[in-house]
Symmetry: C2
Subunit: 602 residues, 2 copies
């Protein structure tokens, strides 16, 4: 019964320790970070980096997938006194696509009674923020975003172009509250997913990345999906979307949520479609509503809702090269067209908000009409939908719901910034969450790269979260290796964006790694990298010996040609000489007629 307690990847990354920073306003909160120890010869303190991996990288944590993670936020939620536990909805055969017997993934062994708001209250982070309340979640986020920096003693030189973002030198809990209150950031944190460690998605915070997992009707199992989730967060995924579409959707999702240290997002429409046997025309508000409650009770932290796809927009897509490429978008378009009716998601959006606010499920307003090819980028259909998403944002905000906006897609470089600018304008600075974008269509098998280019750029321009694309995009369902490649590629894009935006702490890791490189501290260079295992194994392909880990060269240039080694000689000669004196002597031209020292200058 391997499915009953799947094994997942655990243990620390090389030279790394999971450490905790305590709260001040809320002394009981402990914010995890990763400290990377450097070689003593560096004479440098450990480098602190953001840690999305949860307890899995903590050797002291007892991991049992069939029990789930500790329920970190349970007390915080209860203490607010605005929710109640209740019996909740019970699992029905259709929730798992009528899977039976051996084909049925077992239910998660522990059932937690769901919790919801009492008296129609909004129990959302934005409702608290607007009421002036700094929640433990907000302080947790503030400490986390500062990467362990202390306000006073580490004000850093700022450098960057942020295109109007307002990133402070130091993030206070009050700043987090204010950003959430304004709708410029969200903290996806369903009260029924207390296992998750709070994180923020917003233009004035570190750029985040999402990893998609999920089985399809064609392939993959629960155990694989749980491991993909753990594996993705190990390498840096800030949120995970479960996009499962086959049988067993309900039970697989339970195993994932109960073991996830990061917020989980879904597209409820996928499960709703399974409930009606995959016939888009048979979808109804009732089935969809039932699915929202089912998933809200399980603890899904954000819902992708394709309410922006409206009947009158469908004709705008018919002459496209690639039509509608969003699964949710195409399902809704088919429904609208078949019934010649406006989308039930659009018509019932207020009721959707009323469900979301009772559990604090954030919205990711789906871009059902995003372009699926360079030819379709920034077209009428795409921007018509974006304007509708702007209207829906106002409706959600009026009901104290947290909102982010999904973006493309396939967009050539010169059309990327227009997407960011228009989103900021029509969606009132709600966080933008884009898929790539892919900057060319001609490289299937390498779409993590075609899209990593666009993701880095749009992240720089202000996108708050980047949804990864794996090498398998357009070709198949990503496996574990594809997930890692996608996550590392998107960590690169997000970090490149943080550097370019001038995030005050972003360059610390680059500088530490570059110093290690210049000083031939190979181990430190591996350990500070996003993927220490790959860096080490590539180095060892040509210079496997331990001795080479201290060698002052690598196989790329060999000893004689190592520019860094030569630079050290230059530096020491220069220091012997005295820089100031030297610079003086070497004023342009001045050196030309300088007599050699008697010993030839050596």
């Amino acid at each position: 019964m391997k499915d009953l307690s799947p094994t997942v990847t655990t243990g620390p990354l090389p030279a790394s320790r999971r450490v905790w920073h305590k709260g001040e306003r809320h002394p009981d909160i402990r914010v995890p970070m990763r400290e990377i120890d450097l070689h003593p010869s560096a004479g440098e303190p450990p480098v602190t980096v953001y840690d999305s991996s949860g307890p899995y990288t903590d050797p002291a944590a007892g991991i049992a997938i069939d029990r789930g993670l500790p329920r970190l936020r349970e007390g915080w939620v209860a203490a607010r006194g605005d929710t109640e536990t209740y019996d909740g909805r019970h699992v029905r055969p259709e929730d798992n696509g009528f899977a039976e017997g051996a084909r049925l993934v077992p239910e998660f062994p522990v059932r937690h009674t769901p919790r919801r708001a009492t008296g129609g209250r909004a129990v959302t982070q934005i409702a608290y923020a607007r009421a002036g309340i700094v929640t433990p979640e907000m302080e947790f986020v503030a400490i986390r975003e500062n990467l362990g920096r202390k306000a006073a003693k580490e004000a850093l030189a700022r450098d960057g172009e942020s295109f109007g973002a307002e990133i402070p030198d130091f993030i206070t809990p009050e700043f987090v509250r204010d950003e959430v209150a304004k709708g410029r950031a969200i903290i996806p944190a369903n009260i029924n997913h207390p296992e998750a460690e709070p994180m923020a998605i917003g233009r004035n915070f570190l750029v985040k990345i999402n990893a998609n997992i999920g089985n399809s009707a064609v392939t993959s199992s629960m155990a694989e999906e749980v491991e993909k989730m753990v594996w993705a967060t190990r390498w840096g995924a800030d949120t995970v979307m479960d996009l499962s579409t086959g049988r067993n959707i309900h039970n697989i999702r339970d195993w994932i949520i109960r073991n996830s240290p990061v917020p989980i997002g879904t597209v409820p429409l996928y499960q709703a479609l399974e409930k009606v046997g995959g016939i888009a025309e048979d979808l109804s508000w009732e089935v969809f509503r039932d699915t929202l409650i089912e998933q809200a009770e399980q603890g899904v932290d954000y819902f992708t809702i394709h309410a922006g796809v409206r009947l009158h927009m469908i004709p705008m897509t018919v002459d496209r090269v690639t039509g509608i490429v969003s699964r949710g978008g195409s399902i809704m378009a088919k429904w609208c067209l078949h019934h010649h009716r406006e989308s039930f998601l659009y018509e019932h959006f207020e009721e959707i908000c009323d469900i979301a606010r009772a559990y604090d499920v954030s919205f990711s307003l789906g871009d059902g009409l995003r372009p699926g090819s360079i030819a379709d980028a920034n077209d009428q259909a795409q921007f018509a939908e974006l304007e509708t998403l702007g209207e829906l944002t106002q409706i959600a905000w009026a009901r104290d719901c947290q909102v982010m906006i999904e973006g493309p897609g396939h967009v050539p470089m010169h059309k990327i910034k227009a997407n960011m600018d228009k989103q900021l304008e029509v969606c009132g600075e709600a966080p933008f969450y884009t898929l790539g974008p892919l900057t060319t269509d001609i490289a299937p098998g390498y779409d993590h790269i075609t899209s990593g280019i666009g993701a880095a750029m749009i992240g720089w321009f202000g996108t708050a979260m980047l949804c990864y694309v794996t090498p398998k995009e357009h070709l198949g369902l990503p496996d574990r290796d594809d997930v890692k490649t996608g996550v590392i590629t998107y960590k690169i894009a997000a970090h490149a964006a943080d550097l370019a935006k001038g995030h005050p702490a972003a360059q610390i890791r680059d500088d530490a790694l570059s110093r290690a490189r210049f000083e031939f501290r190979w181990e430190d260079q591996f350990n500070l990298s996003l993927d220490p295992e790959t860096a080490r194994s590539m180095h060892d392909e040509t210079l496997p010996k331990e001795a080479h880990k201290v060698a002052h060269f690598c196989s790329m240039c060999g000893p004689k040609f190592c520019s860094m080694r030569i630079s050290h000689d230059i530096r020491s000669e220069a220091q012997k000489e005295g820089m100031a004196k030297m610079a003086e002597k070497f004023r342009e031209g001045g050196a030309l007629y300088m007599p050699l020292d008697k010993d030839g200058g050596a």
Copy 2:
């Protein structure tokens, strides 16, 4: 004796034929391109793409590495009547680092008598261009850049932001001549490398990529390097730099040049250093000069010359995080510092030009002080050198030499454009040739990606050629797989740049592939991609059966959820309905109260 006739990769890419377009002014020239055939159901003509692979992908070509490629340009050069053959320099032990016996790579079996200008003439493409002569090389380039388009019947809608580049709808031989005459483009074409197929490097042409190969003192053999060259051009490398630094430099280079269909670049300083036993201080103008002539006679098409590293700049590098990371730059800096003298490359630059113009060796003025880390980007040392490269460009142009300028390196996104703008300004629009740039330091093992981001951006801004970075950068010498990954990544960056610049033909391939994707022509989708083998194998990992090659879904979403399949249903319903009528009916809101058809609208 595998080294005597190494085996290389040959044969066409899937569904591809090598075709030739004839010249008009020069009817004897045949310009190769690759035509990719589509499935008959597409009802589309073959897609023509740029082909850098040479005869190796032509089944009709008889390949024998120990004979070398046909000497395509020999007649063109001779016909100009401004050169003579002469005995030339003979190989000396030091040319191969004193390798002997079994360690000595055999000489290339065929020796061609070298050719040089008579009467101190400049036999360079820029000299002819300035004299108003349209050479066969120029017409070859014009036809090649048009990708087989005919001026009249294929004027395409232009879209893009070119930042002041002047890309015409159609490239004429006269346009090529004019760009070369202005120094805005170069055609690297040593008269002693007649095997190469002419290509242009310039901001108003397709963005090109370079692949570095070459052994180091630590690893790799001649056979491997020849195969790396063939392999790199197969996947799209437009030029190849041989950066060998160990023994056998002369002989390995001979095998590479005689078999290379693309221009070959080198850094002559590396071989000069070998000749003096690796002691930078022992370098001299005489040894360097001898090396230039040796390599010019062999047929090297462009020389990287680090003449911009001057004595007074060295102090500017001493406080850098990563000092001097260019091998050539660090060698020259050490020489200057040791002797307390100005660089012999700078002092003798006119004489270097006199050698180059006699063979038409183009210059790639090296950025010896490029930043090696984010911390050092755009600093005083880097820009001081760039200004010197501007001076040297004028000196080279005054002597009718072709010039391009090397650029960084490690640069965060917000500092990339400043590099392009300053280069255009101080180097008089000479083509820019950058290494990446890498947009973060923290991902060793993935530096093809950290740099692919920067490369795509700087290519968009106007860089004419992008020097690839492989996953092994900073870690070791790239092997054959790393070379392919680097080349494909850089083809993506260059193509993304062409799209964003608005190159008139760039989007043809994207659109053809996207149509194939939308129509589930899987084979066409694979065949049109930059790496058909990888695309196919990733698809087959989950859906191996031949039947799946026509399936209207993939394993990513499965049949029920395929948005593209649904889009087709939508399109056909829509067409039944009549788009205009439908659009009319669906005016915003209008649809809300529309009665259903009696049959429910189906």
